[in-house]
Every structure is written in structure tokens, then in C-alpha cells.
């Protein structure tokens, strides 16, 4: 049962790569937006908050279609990126990563924002009386104390990216070896006669990856947590 065919392996590796790239690339933006929402009051804050959370409530197909319109080769942003940097999203694995990143972004921001809000601001005051400017306070006090939340957000984002289906398939289709992730492969296999065994194999792989990610995050978060209470 556990001999994956080369095609299935490709889908697994592709899924992992897409989810990892989506999580790592969105992380800095997620931290920045979470910090803005947690700490700053500015005009348009409610709008930014709403925009960030939109992919959570919109039908994924709508998000995927909007990405297609904007980031497709003919789309305003897609055409610009293609002409200027040679970056192409449409029907590439990079597009799948973009779709996954956008869909996972609300979860990433939410987890990090909550951990920023839970930090004792008085520790930041103490750091500034010791000579740390805003940037150093953030780097040496705020971010390390928010680390468990950052890790939780990354795992959520990774899991969401791994399972993303609707926006990805709408934006970059379902091309084996390029944009066909585990989810898309399972879906395809269930549509063809005799695909059940292969679909089941991929289902087991998906469960295994999700479990490993959860356990790893738990371990990281606990390690980060114990650091604050001695040991």
C-alpha cells in the first residue's frame, strides 16, 4: 500500500514545497501586519483588518478568480511582474504558493497578533529606559516573547496551505508536476475509475504530514514557553 508512484511522490513533494514557500514568504508580512494591528492606531485600520481576513470568509473560488484576474499574465499586477522581474505566477507552482499564502494569511496574522497583544507592554518600557530604541525593543523583547504565537501561526499557515484547494485550482489549475498538490491529486483520483487505492495512499500521507506538523509545533511552542519560566 505504501509504494507511492512517481506521480504521487511528485504531488507530495510539490505540496510540501508550496506550503513551505507560502509560509516562509508570507511570514515577514504577517509579522508586520500583526504588529500594526496590535499596536498602532491609524486611518484605515478597520479596512486593513477586513482585507486581511477577507480570504477567510470569501469562497475560495472567488479569491482564486481575483488572483487570476490580477496576477494572471494579462492581469495588471501579473503583467507588471512579468515585464519587470520576469516573475510569472499563472499556471506555475509559484502561483499555487501565492494562492496558498493569501488563503493562509488571516490565520498567520491572527495567531501572531494575539501573541503581540498578550505581551506585557511594561517590559517594552523597561527596555526603552535601558537605551533600546523602537526597533531594538521589537527585536530583543517583543518578537522573542511572541515566539510561541509566531510558531503557532506558521504551523496553522502551513497546514492551511497544504490543504488549500479551491483558490489554487481556480488560479493555477491542476497540472501534474507543476500545480497539482496532494489535495488536487486526491480530487482527480476520486474522479477516475479505479483511483480509490491511490487516493487513499495520498490521504494517509496528508494525515501523516499534518500530525508531524502539529507535534513539531507543540514541541517548539513548549520549548519557547519553558524558557520564560526558568529551566
Amino acid at each position: 500500500m505504501f509504494d507511492l508512484t512517481p506521480e504521487e511522490w511528485t504531488a507530495v513533494q510539490l505540496s510540501l514545497r508550496i506550503a513551505l514557500v507560502a509560509t516562509l514568504v508570507t511570514l515577514p508580512f504577517g509579522i508586520a501586519v500583526a504588529w500594526l494591528l496590535a499596536r498602532k492606531n491609524f486611518w484605515g485600520k478597520a479596512l486593513l483588518d477586513g482585507l486581511v481576513h477577507l480570504p477567510l470568509v470569501l469562497p475560495p473560488v472567488v479569491t482564486g478568480y481575483l488572483l487570476l484576474i490580477w496576477f494572471g499574465r494579462k492581469g495588471p499586477i501579473g503583467a507588471f511582474l512579468d515585464d519587470t522581474f520576469g516573475i510569472v505566477f499563472s499556471f506555475r507552482w509559484t502561483g499555487a504558493a501565492l494562492a496558498c499564502g493569501v488563503m493562509a494569511f488571516p490565520l498567520l496574522v491572527r495567531a501572531i497578533r494575539l501573541s503581540f497583544e498578550a505581551i506585557d507592554r511594561r517590559l517594552e518600557d523597561a527596555a526603552s529606559t535601558l537605551g533600546a530604541n523602537g526597533f531594538w525593543v521589537f527585536l530583543t523583547v517583543t518578537l522573542p516573547l511572541a515566539l510561541p504565537g509566531v510558531i503557532a501561526g506558521m504551523v496553522l499557515s502551513f497546514a492551511k496551505a497544504l490543504g488549500e484547494f479551491g483558490a489554487t485550482i481556480t488560479f493555477v489549475s491542476n497540472i501534474p508536476g507543476e500545480t497539482q498538490t496532494i489535495s488536487a491529486a486526491i480530487y482527480t483520483l476520486t474522479q477516475v475509475p479505479g483511483g480509490d487505492a491511490a487516493a487513499l495512499r495520498l490521504v494517509v500521507v496528508a494525515i501523516a504530514i499534518a500530525l508531524v506538523a502539529l507535534i513539531a509545533s507543540e514541541w517548539f511552542a513548549r520549548r519557547a514557553g519553558t524558557r520564560y519560566h526558568g529551566e
Binding site: L123, G131, L145, R227, H229
Partner: protein, 225 residues
Amino acid sequence: MLAVDVEKRLGEFRIAAKFETMGGAAALFGASGAGKTSIVNMIAGLVTPDRGRIALDDNVLFDSVARVNVPAHRRRIGYVFQEGRLFPHLTVAQNLDYGRWMSGLPPDPAEHERIVSLLDIGALLPRRPGRLSGGERQRVAFGRALLMKPRLLLLDEPLASLDRPRKLEILPYLARLRDEAKVPMIYVSHQAGEILRLASQVIRIEDGRVQAAGGLELLDAEAAR
């Protein structure tokens, strides 16, 4: 010398305080809720006054007319908080070094050694604050504030969170700090006893205002109560 003349409205409460200190140890004395901590926060730069002027020696830290407001991280004023506020994710040694790193000061092993032994915290260096007793934590907080080589040390009820035996354990260290560290101190407290042991000058705060300023004789009435 520290010259303070500030006004600040905090909701219904209004602070309007004017006083000067002469170096050495000056006490801000008054009941809880009299506005002492707010005044000290303004000196440290953590709270911005609505109006007024704060100057340390020839250095203007805040002046609402001249629009001067030196940010907290450039004031070089050490601050020991009531609850210590040690960084929980750093060891004691890293907490002690934090101010030096952030202020860009070169290492000074002799001074480090002197303060660590003065406060008797050598054995705590590798530990994290979560595992320290309240008294140990406060001693580390004194060390952290001193090792940034402050021009002024603010102590906001540093003993208030400790029980009586711990207080008695810390008081001698504070007296040694005053005598040996040679940094001018502002000591905030509502305990006349602590002030009698530590301060030479008393500024009495009531309801956000300076009600009297002078020597330790200001505490006599308090002690008689």
C-alpha cells in the same frame, strides 16, 4: 541636579508638580495614588507631560515651550520598577548586560564585578528570572539599572512587592548603592521608615501636587501618627 515642573491630566486626575533635587538620594513621599509613579514616568520619558519642563543638570529632557522631548531610550536614566520587570526570556547575566548593549557602551568588567558583588548576585547569573525569589529579582533589577551607567536612578517603590523579611534583606544593599554607586537617586515610597534610612531630601506629594519639600524633618509628623 534635577529640576521638574510638569503638568499632566490623566482622566479626572491632575498632576501639577514642581520641585528640584540636589543630588544624593531624594524621596518622593506620599500615599498610594498621589501621582508619584506618573511623575517618575515623566522623568524617565515613558509618559509625556502636557506642559512643563524637565532638566537634568544642564541637559533639558523635556520642554513644552521649546518643543524638546528626548525619547526614553536616549535619556540614560536608570529605572527600577516596583515589579522588577526583568526580561523573562533572558538569563540574569543577559539582563544585566542589556542596558550596556543597547546604550552601546564598551564592556567594563571591573564595574560589572563591583556591582555584582555589591548586590551579591554572582550565583544567579546563569539563571532565568522565573526561578528567582522576589528579593533576588529586585537585586538583579538594581544591577541592571546601574550597569547602564545612568545619570540618575529612579526607584519606584522597589520594596513594595516584598514581604518584611525580604525588605530588611534589601535595605542594606540600597544603602550601599547610595553610598558607593554615586548615582543621584529618586526614591519613591509611601513608607516613612524606608525613606528615613535612605534619603536626605524629601518631596512630599499629595493629590498630584508638591505639598512640601525639605529634609527628613518632614517625616516627623508622619512618624508621630
